[in-house]
Symmetry: C2
């Protein structure tokens, strides 16, 4: 049985510049609840406490939104996302008080250790503690399994492979799920959070389910950062056709997507050139503007700069290295000097 998690009201926040109101949240959550979706994630796009000039100011507080969601549901569990360094334990305490029963604690895929106190606190205080390993394409399956084991050791009962850049394909998604499934205790669930930059949002989630993942994220109409998530109502149908049961009822789920979420979307979630380039390069979307500037300065193709950043495995905080990458690329691609004869 698959536990379906909707991220329309958290990852989808990126698509609406964190402007969802308590009324929006209550309506979407009520629709998801009626359709039998198990878990509904509600927070600023960058997790509780993310509202800021740097990450984008939200129109309403996390507290107001979590309370609205919790008030709108009868069966579904409410989840809050927390990125240590952006959100603090105080935010998690508040989220729990307002009705969140699932804590999703997210770190870069190599930094599980910074989640220790938050995962432990959640587990000790009766929440379902979920570890969330972001940018999971950047390390191989066995390294990822090591990080997942750390999160499990802190008390996580679910550990997610998060394809933040949408850079995985079914084969590489399945490898990672299989490695975590092997490495973790039988009672620890493996989750998968997809992005659609390579058109594989639904395909990767299906491959993850086939490989043993039992918690799967999606969002209505695909609402989410970049090219968006696995489209939840579509994923539910495809899971059923693939022999994986979910508790969701498909027609009500389609209806909330079409009637409640679609009218709130500023633009459809498509895979445009930018989204595809980021997924193909496997880099943070925030690198795009830096890469374009650096490319213009050194007269190289911006997408070649993105590819170079992907090869160098540059992560957030290392933006100064983008100029270096563009400069070296310009050197490498400069026409060979004339004058020396071939073979000299």
């Amino acid at each position: 049985m698959i536990t379906l998690v909707d991220s329309s009201l958290r990852d989808g926040m990126h698509s609406v510049r964190h402007q969802f109101s308590p009324e929006h949240v209550a309506a979407v959550a009520a629709g998801l609840d009626r359709a039998g979706v198990d878990v509904i994630e509600v927070s600023h796009g960058d997790g509780v406490g993310g509202s800021s000039i740097q990450y984008g100011r939200a129109a309403f507080s996390d507290a107001e939104l979590i309370e609205a969601a919790a008030g709108g549901v009868a069966r579904a569990r409410i989840a809050a996302l927390l990125l240590p360094g952006i959100g603090t334990l105080r935010r998690l305490t508040e989220a729990q008080r307002l009705g969140a029963t699932v804590a999703r604690v997210a770190t870069h895929c190599t930094e599980a250790d910074i989640a220790e106190q938050h995962i432990a606190w959640a587990a000790e205080h009766g929440m379902t503690a979920v570890g969330f390993l972001m940018m999971s394409h950047m390390i191989d399956a066995s390294q990822l399994a090591d990080q997942a084991r750390l999160m499990e050791s802190y008390g996580a009962s679910v550990v997610y492979i998060v394809d933040s850049a949408g850079a995985l394909v079914p084969r590489t998604a399945a490898e990672r799920v299989a490695a975590l499934r092997d490495a973790l205790l039988a009672e620890t669930a493996v989750g998968f959070h997809a992005h659609n930059n390579l058109g594989c949002g639904v395909g990767n989630a299906l491959a993850a389910a086939d490989a043993g993942a039992t918690w799967l994220d999606g969002s209505l109409r695909g609402l989410g950062a970049g090219a968006g998530n696995a489209q939840l109502e579509v994923l539910a149908a495809a899971l059923e056709r693939s022999g994986h049961a979910t508790g969701a009822e498909l027609f009500p789920l389609m209806d909330v997507a079409e009637e409640v979420v679609a009218p709130l979307m500023p633009r459809p979630q498509i895979v445009d050139r930018t989204a595809l380039s980021l997924g193909y390069a496997g880099v943070y979307s925030s690198f795009l503007l830096h890469a374009e500037r650096a490319a213009a300065k050194f007269d190289v193709e911006p997408r070649a700069v993105l590819m170079e950043l992907g090869r160098r495995r540059i992560v957030g905080g290392q933006e100064d290295m983008i100029i270096d990458a563009a400069a070296e690329l310009a050197d490498r691609t400069a026409p060979a000097q004339t004058g020396s004869s071939p073979g000299a």
Copy 2:
């Protein structure tokens, strides 16, 4: 090595109500050719000779469009689609004279035998003869393999599994490809044509490649009937990330999608409620209006009618059975008569 086939100028015709001009066709074909796409399909959406009141009047003749495409390419091969019963041999002769070197002959998945003369003619006249088994989800893998063998026996050097309704998922797509791969001669290629109704356009094409398909269709920005096709520029990137080489260059392919095709699209190709319902039910999109009318008449859920049509495996030409299906559904879902005690 994968042979990439672009269907933007044939399946994509459905999305623009068959209104592409020779100038549009030449620009798209030239862009695809520069990007190294192997085969470019050009025809009315329902194949050569499809322009009619029933199938939609095209703005220009197939001849004008094929000639424009052939004139715009240096390396790519031009393909024309023909549905026996809609198009005739005369159309195929004309297409060849104007520069088409690939003939794609399409039938319903159980009716390969009606393609005999067209496939044989193409093979005998130096064209690459391709058999196209539409609505391939409606029969199982071994039945499909029997039909593929028929097409091979007529002279097809490639046989396609065509997921016209977008009803397959990676597992069921791979099963069908494996069955054809087993049944056909080693020198006969297996092809896969996806639709995205279950969000699996790219995922199914990747699964098909893993299972041995070497001809894969897609279209730029997903342009095509229903929820659209596998998005070609995205598929090319995902194939590369999955270890399947194509001859395509990714950046020029992205550019023609973004700069030439996107501006011509009347709407983005998304998976909306209607497209998802059709894919989930596995029925022809032309049934939608009939199902909605019948549902209204008998006061049942239109999507339940579509599901019933899928279960009954109704095909085009059997539209009169839609009323029957709705009536029976109404009987079945009517509240039980009161008066008789439980257990009586």
